[in-house]
Symmetry: C2
Subunit: 433 residues, 2 copies
Amino acid sequence: MVEVFTAVEVTDVRFPTSRQLDGSDAMNPEPDYSAAYVTVRTSDGAAGYGLAFTVGRGNEIETAAVEALAPLVTGLPVADVLADPGGLSARLTGDGQLRWLGPHKGVIHMAAGAVLNAVWDLYARREGKPLWDLLAGMTPEQLVSLVDFRYLTDALTPDEALGILRAAEPGRARRRARLLDEGYPAYTTTPGWLGYTDDKLVRLAREAVADGFGQIKLKVGTDRAADVRRLRLAREAVGPDVRIGVDANQAWGVPDAIDWMTALAPYDPYWIEEPTSPDDVLGHAAIRRAVAPVRVATGEHCQNQVVFKQFLQAGAIDVLQLDATRVAGVGENVAILLLAAKFGVPVCPHAGGVGLCEMVQHLAMFDYVAVSGTLTDRVIEYVDHLHEHFTAPVRLRGGRYLAPTVPGAGAEMRPASVAAHRFPDGPVWRTPA
Amino acid sequence: MVEVFTAVEVTDVRFPTSRQLDGSDAMNPEPDYSAAYVTVRTSDGAAGYGLAFTVGRGNEIETAAVEALAPLVTGLPVADVLADPGGLSARLTGDGQLRWLGPHKGVIHMAAGAVLNAVWDLYARREGKPLWDLLAGMTPEQLVSLVDFRYLTDALTPDEALGILRAAEPGRARRRARLLDEGYPAYTTTPGWLGYTDDKLVRLAREAVADGFGQIKLKVGTDRAADVRRLRLAREAVGPDVRIGVDANQAWGVPDAIDWMTALAPYDPYWIEEPTSPDDVLGHAAIRRAVAPVRVATGEHCQNQVVFKQFLQAGAIDVLQLDATRVAGVGENVAILLLAAKFGVPVCPHAGGVGLCEMVQHLAMFDYVAVSGTLTDRVIEYVDHLHEHFTAPVRLRGGRYLAPTVPGAGAEMRPASVAAHRFPDGPVWRTPA
């Protein structure tokens, strides 16, 4: 019997993070970090895991979207899909009816990403490799076949993508060895949530430096005077040599962003993240021109590769923060890494949330080994919560992610965690806060 | 007792349009035109109707999104909401958890639009006016209060918006009278669906001219030779003085769009609609520079006012095609009309689908009376199907929409139509094609 996909299962999993104000920022004051958690199964009993990250209400919409995509996967021969993952991506993102709900954005696109990442997880397990190493072992031709170039060729052609990947081939083995030895640099967002007191901010900032982090991040955007005070305290706590990113989570319009960053400038912020709408390419470009040398960063809410393409074409960003679950999975993120390499912009992935650290580290490490070939100005975000719910939690040492060695793409959760946090009927949700 | 909203009901309604290939285009080959159909109800027994248009599969995701928004509306005093519709819009599009699913795009944003339009329908009924006349009777200050300026002020400030509206005040009464006398110009898409034979195309094109239309539209983008042949036939059928728009429904990348339009140029296409990804502002700008004097049009898939702002800032479009159900309802469309007026770009709304003609005519007519003040180069799309399912179907005469006089915003469907087409349990869907 030919092995086929037999099921795409989805579970609404939510963590009551709003009870502690972990994760609070200017636009998401009380998030309950959540996941539409996907399991793909095959007729041979194999499984792969993926998820779409949300912040609570609406996670049930995301699960409905995954259910709508399931019939496009079940019944397909596994070998055919793994031989051409780009084909499955085109099928899920190009369906003649579902496409209307995007195209390539929001709920339906994130659902496609969750399903595609689950298939990639199964693929990596089958190959006995962590995802980063599976990708870093593919030929340039295989990698280019993952990319949907329909809307990209004015900025990146298949030949240019091949050229980037071929240029990085000679150093792959050396960089792979170095990555396994030394890990990948991280920065931490743990000190800077808006809901934390000044004392907690200062204590956590000092701990971050002691732990070896060379960069921390503060949430800003609700109260300008408080932001100035908090950035000053953080700067005093970490000294002049540790980078401090600030993150407005889209709180501002263009003129407000420029004014606010002028007020923060004396305390040497390294980057301003999400200063305005994630859709506003031209707005980011205007802000970047005005706030330099402070860098402009965005990407966690960037809906797809077409918008990333424009951020790069317009010279709107200094730092590209891709997300593992916002776009259509591994294939679209390979496209985004190639675009960033073409334009010479460093990728510093968004993480935190539920399982984002576990997933996104694979993309950054693949980028280092086989695409950009460099760690310069590259850092992966790190947030120290919810890792205990994953079967292969990230490992950090001295402010660096250690390269994962467990086969897979990182999204598998512990069955007990899924059961406990299932919404609305899991025990965590049956007990009021 | 204070009147409050008591329910936001939603029904999955689908029409089996794929059985006739009505509505077939390059990216939506077999659509089943559908609606997440919304009814808001109050404690005094009042109701209002709205919908989100989709093309079949996934309509259940849209209904799930409406259900997620319902608790943000129920319990609110009706008088408070109608006194500040901008406040309700901010509540629905800014929820600290649901916002993550967009923000302001795709499934969750369309659901907000359906709910907000239903509230506007109730408001217009209560005032005894069609929506266009309700809006056109508001003061400039009231209209400006409907707009969320957070991400707009680099292109349009509240003062500039007030200036535009005040400048149009003197002629309101005269234009209102003219609109009631003469109606609003339309163009028809009926002849040009990809699934139609050449004979049917030619026959319908001739009928359109005989019916008084000054513009028709052809779908293109699947087969270049066929497109050249069909455009030639259409041009021969209608003569040199009738405008022919062509619509690629996002089929192309930037270089393909330019090449394809060069092949069609000998037959004098008036505009190229959706030449590429609706997210690609810079791509549209490049296409526009290359294909002039052919005009570039887009908007039916434009996710929100921030992207429309950039289309205008970048000089990327000649024609702005807003949609009644893609964005967050009447308020966001008022913002889009004001942006278009600021930049001097004509608005030619997208229609067709399910109820889009019925809804969008109000926005165009309001624009004429109280915003742009002109009909020059303005046309509303018209497609001649599914109108019979609405309680106040559009009325056309001599290629023009007659101004609706029935109170409301146009989205109310006949209860028998809703019952017959309810998915999956209505009689139309229990009977196989």
